[in-house]
Amino acid sequence: MERTKEKITVIAQAEYPVAEIGNITKKVRGRTLLKNVSFTVESGEICGLLGPNGAGKTTLIRALTGLIRPDSGDIIIGGCSVVREREAAVTNVGAIVESPIFFPYMTGRENLENLALLHPNLPDRAARKRRVNEVLEVVRMDKRADEKIKTYSLGMKQRLGIAQALLGDPELLILDEPANGLDPIGIRELRELILKLKTEFGKTILVSSHLLDELQKICDRIVVIREGELVFAGSRNEMIGDHQSLEDAFVEMMTR
């Protein structure tokens, strides 16, 4: 039985927050992983999420995708609360959380076709097939799509991970450490792909990474968290300030 839900749709292209993170706090087994974190991700921008290991980046991303519930505060994506209307909110989000994991006994295309069944905006088989072909083409995986996942390199898995995130044509893409383990060519290809998603497809992207040079090249805005608390949210240039690079600025911020 098909269910109907309300979704907020943007009808103007003016700058507006795609995601609004409001005062979220999350404790697990007595340890505070996120403490009153608030920031926004604006439409059409690439926002870098920075922080040392254990800062709470992945916890924040899990909360943004509705995989965990914050203890307090709210996250609004595309006008829907992830906390109260998770299913409606996540239709606006595509994500890779931690490493891209697939069903290893299926081919790349079968993985996408299976996941496409779970998207409300792909109502029939023809639409799903078409969308799977489109996203495979976007990430340049169409030639290897019919091979088993176990034959893929890490770079190909990352690109397929982005393809699965794009299936529902979401407004917001969340990429958690997408360059982890990639070689320099893979990193460059990934960078080009992320920029293409922004410029050609108008996606808003929140990306976490430890590769600060890469973030400096692609991000419009930077959000920094440390020990679960927000320590900076602003433009890339504001963050760099008088420093030589984003890396210098980040290291100084962390050692201050």
């Binding site: 839900k5 309300e6 507006y16 931690e98 994991i101 299926m106």
Partner: protein, 288 residues
Amino acid sequence: MSLLVREQVDGIGFARILEAEWKRLWKRRAVRWMAWTAPVAALVSTKYLFSQNTTLDPGLPEYATAGNVPVLALAEMLITVFSGMMLILAGLSVTEEYRSGQLRMSMLRAVSLPKIMIAKWISCLVFVLIQLALYFLCTVAMGRLAFPDPATYPLFYDAGTVSYAEGLLYNLAYYGLSAVALGVLLAVFFWIAALGRSSTAALGLGIGFLLLSYVLPIMLTYFRPLLEAKVYLRLYFSSLLMIEWEGLAAMLANLHGLQYWNIGILAGYGLLFGGTTVWIWRRRDSFE
């Protein structure tokens, strides 16, 4: 500033979640191998029943005839092959997907975890029910081809004698009750799979549950002289495994009112384990 408008968007129908789960289940090599279980198990059971017949009086209900082969064969295989198959399916479908992070791929979409779990339960059950139906057809065919076909034969627990046609209805009722018992056992395995930290741990806990369900009623037999027959039987058939093994025939004979008792026990297990499994998935952060 944002300029937003509310519009109606169709949600995901449960049928599509079920389709995704079924396709994933069927894609697994282990599951495809398991599809051969019914005919192979039917052959093994038939061979066993042949050897048993050489030592049994033809007047006994245990003596295999064309009519009772499906029931005798299932009684042999229900708690071993079919229960084992479900334990493996629950481990693969729930624990492995959850612990490896594969389930996250589904969870990132607009579907809730309890709905995914219900779809998984239905997919696994449908697979086992197809196997059960195949097993029935194979054993009916083997019974007709290879076993004697007397005018009538006795049922278990003095439930009377039946002709082949009457026996067929009895067999269908027995298989129907087996399907219900398997569905309930699958709910228990899903509960175990939800708690298991790995597929191996879930498998171990599942085997532990089966062993406990076997050992406790056996221990109860030592106290039989102390208990009334009715009380003893009710305690004995509080075990899901014993209902599968001997309780289904006792239900069909309505021995000591066991029909209602066993249905109540099955419903109790189903509600307790099914309910708490859904409750666990509802409460739990998806990936702590």
